[in-house]
């Protein structure tokens, strides 16, 4: 090896040593905080602000969305958990049931603003009357539509559809514009996307996918079948582009950003994204309608808790309650385009934009299913929920698809 090669190698080796030395020093004194990628744009400045104003430091680790539970599971199995965990609210029942989270009931009740905290988050973090996590970030699902295409198709851009027939009729007119324009879109191979943007149609029509206690599937009820038929009609008449069938979430919002899609179910995050990066697209938002009217929304986001085995539980709770204080909610969440998790702080978020008001209302009135088997039932892209949507919408045999999913749901809920 020549001299410069050796020098490079030495430099590389010393850099690795230096980096690992830093990492060790970090871990020894700081509380560790894990958050999924989706929340990193909020969490990064947040942790920076905390570290600038507090003696007990926090180091942030951002984990890719899809790998979050895998990584936390591995960490829990080896006993090396983070001190603070912000996790998709939907997984809290599973973690609480498995004894992975610290009971914070008393401290949570003592918070002066306890009554204003997001109901969906609080419900899912409550197991047997005990509280295992608090709200961290919020996300509400809604229908976003392209006003420009509405105008071109001769529709009133200020009167979005109020029921399924309205969506189908508008979609047809928009698709008729031609040139690759389609009326509607959804990510068809993605269980998580479907719970977020497809179940609201079922909820708004009075149906549900699980019983209130989360123990019995209710997929074989007419509302579910009708909603699947509604999607299937739009697919088979060509209102949805072919890419939908294999989209596991990559194009969840991308297709709308091309300006060639009339309507798409998405989250409040899309409002900020569109305003910031696609000012050329004139868009409106509206809640998901039911078959004959009514509205519904999925209330999502992350909950924040203290894993069992946390080495800094004191700092952890201090940080969690600090995140929920008014100045932090306003400065780092609302002004950053993220829905605050306190019902009394909507004004700072909406800030005069009626579309954000729709998003805030959608979230406030939204719901989320309670299940400690959520991953197996719903989020698993190879699981029964995603498979049912695929078979029913693209295959067309709604009854058979529903029957199969109902059976598989029952098996999974029985622990098989």
């Amino acid at each position: 090896m020549n001299t410069s090669g050796r020098a490079t190698l030495l430099l590389g080796a010393s850099l690795i040593f230096a980096a690992s030395a830093c990492a060790v020093a970090d871990d020894a004194n700081n509380a560790t905080f894990w958050v999924r990628m989706q929340d990193s744009s909020v969490a990064t400045p947040l942790v920076k602000a905390w570290n600038a104003s507090h003696k007990d430091q926090i180091s942030l680790t951002v984990v890719p969305n899809d790998d979050f539970m895998t990584k936390f599971g591995t960490a829990a199995a080896s006993g090396n958990v983070p001190d603070i965990l912000a996790v998709d609210l939907i997984y809290v029942p599973q973690l609480a049931k498995a004894g992975q989270l610290t009971d914070i009931t008393d401290k949570a009740k003592a918070l002066p603003f306890a009554g204003t905290l997001s109901k969906a988050h609080m419900r899912l973090a409550n197991s047997g009357g005990r509280q295992y996590a608090l709200p961290f970030s919020a996300e509400g699902s809604l229908l976003v539509y392209n006003k420009g295409l509405f105008k071109k198709a001769g529709l009133d851009p200020n009167s979005p559809p109020k029921d399924w027939a309205g969506i189908e009729a508008d979609a047809k007119k928009i698709t008729a514009l031609g040139g690759g324009v389609k009326g509607f879109y959804f990510s068809g191979a993605c269980g998580g996307c479907q719970i977020f943007t497809f179940t609201p149609y079922i909820w708004a029509s009075g149906g549900d996918i699980l019983s209130a206690d989360g123990k019995t599937p209710t997929l074989d009820k007419p509302e579910v079948k009708n909603a699947l038929n509604f999607y299937h009609r739009m697919w088979s008449t060509g209102q949805i582009s072919a890419g939908s069938k294999t989209d596991a979430g990559q194009n969840f919002i991308n297709t709308f950003l091309t300006g060639k899609v009339g309507m798409v179910g998405t989250g409040a995050f899309a409002i900020g994204l569109l305003k910031r990066e696609h000012p050329e697209i004139d868009f409106g938002v509206t809640p998901f309608p039911g078959e004959k009217g009514g509205t519904a929304s999925f209330a999502g986001g992350d909950s924040i808790g203290i894993p069992k085995g946390s080495k800094h539980p004191g700092t952890a709770f201090e940080f969690i309650s600090w995140c929920l204080t008014e100045p932090v909610q306003v400065e780092y969440f609302a002004k950053n385009g993220s829905i605050p998790v306190r019902s009394d702080l909507g004004k700072a978020y909406v800030n005069g934009d009626p579309r954000l008001q729709v998003a805030f209302d959608a979230f406030s009135k939204g719901q989320a299913p309670y299940s400690d088997k959520f991953n197996q039932l719903i989020n698993d892209n190879n699981g029964p929920w995603a498979t049912m949507v695929q078979e029913a919408v693209y295959g067309g045999n709604v009854d058979a698809a529903v029957k199969k999913a109902q059976t598989r749901f029952t098996e999974i809920l029985a622990g098989k």
Binding site: A76, Q100, A189, G243, K245, T246, D380, N381, T387, Q390
Partner: protein
């Protein structure tokens, strides 16, 4: 005599000392994890929460688990497709770059380059090449007028499988090519010369000298390729997510799902053990069938 013996003993010790680091590595990264896997496979071992010993329950359950055997069947189908594709492509490339020519070094490097990027990176790259909105493949086919609108490469079970086989062939051919090249170059030039004097043409030389003398190389390359294909995971996880409608779930994908979706780590371990046994048996069979005549 005595001095020689002590020298041999000393050499032996030195030998042990030299292999010690390697043995330590193998023990740490293979035998200990293997032992732990065996141990875990005898437990009801959830990802979160308490574990309990359940003997051979996992194995009994596995015998009745259709999804596991289906995924094994699918993996076999994938292996039967990808292995010949790799071999044919690699053999042709090896013939092309075999003789030292002006450009052969460049071509060898070019063909080998995809091997050095990771399977995950390659899968991600190809997912976007195949993408209907921004992908290059559909765009080219549309440009030359073969397609009117983008092709959905993954929207049928066979489409998805062939798309992945194409990617893996691109990615791994270089590796098989190098293995075959080494075997090819180990054949003494005299044999070809003698054959030429006897009037053998190119085809006959290939048929009666190259192919028979490469038997052991084929055995090695085949075993490596079959094992690699049976352990395939990244490409399915990243490119098709097991879709459409769960038609592309390989064995390792299923093991991953059992461990991390269903959080049945013990059960996943049992599947890994069974897969290991299957691979050991298959490797023995292949090596036996392709053994060289001297050892027969």
């Amino acid at each position: 005599m005595a001095a020689q013996a002590s020298l041999t003993t000393r050499n032996a010790w030195a030998g042990y000392l030299f292999v010690a680091p390697c043995l330590l590595m193998i023990a740490t990264f293979f035998f200990i994890p293997l032992g732990m896997t065996l141990w875990m496979s005898l437990h009801d071992w959830p990802l979160f929460g308490a574990r309990s010993f359940n003997g051979l329950d996992n194995y009994v359950q596995l015998a009745h688990d259709d999804s596991f055997w289906q995924s094994l069947l699918f993996t076999t189908k994938y292996t039967l497709l990808v292995t010949p594709a790799l071999f044919i492509a690699a053999f042709i490339l090896a013939l092309v770059v075999q003789r030292p020519g002006r450009w052969s070094g460049l071509f060898r490097t070019a063909y080998f380059l995809p091997v050095v990027i990771g399977m995950s990176a390659a899968s991600l790259l190809w997912v976007w090449l195949y993408n209907d909105q921004v992908g290059v493949f559909s765009a080219i086919l549309m440009k030359v007028g073969l397609l009117d609108e983008p092709l959905e490469w993954f929207d049928t079970a066979n489409g998805a499988l062939f798309s992945i086989v194409a990617m893996v062939t691109w990615k791994m051919t270089g590796f098989t090519m190098v293995l075959l090249l080494v075997g090819m170059q180990a054949i003494p030039e005299d044999l070809y010369e003698a054959a030429r004097i006897d009037g053998a043409n190119r085809w006959n030389q290939l048929r009666y000298i190259t192919l028979p003398l490469m038997r052991q190389t084929f055995a090695l390359a085949l075993t490596v390729s079959v094992i690699g294909s049976y352990l395939a995971f990244d490409q399915f996880y990243i490119m098709t997510h097991g879709g459409p409608q769960n038609s592309t779930i390989s064995v390792v994908y299923w093991i991953y799902r059992a461990a991390f979706t269903y959080s049945k780590v013990g059960y996943a371990s049992a599947m890994s053990v069974v897969l290991l046994l299957i691979l050991i048996v298959m490797s023995f069979v292949q090596l036996y069938l392709l053994r060289s005549d001297d050892n027969a």
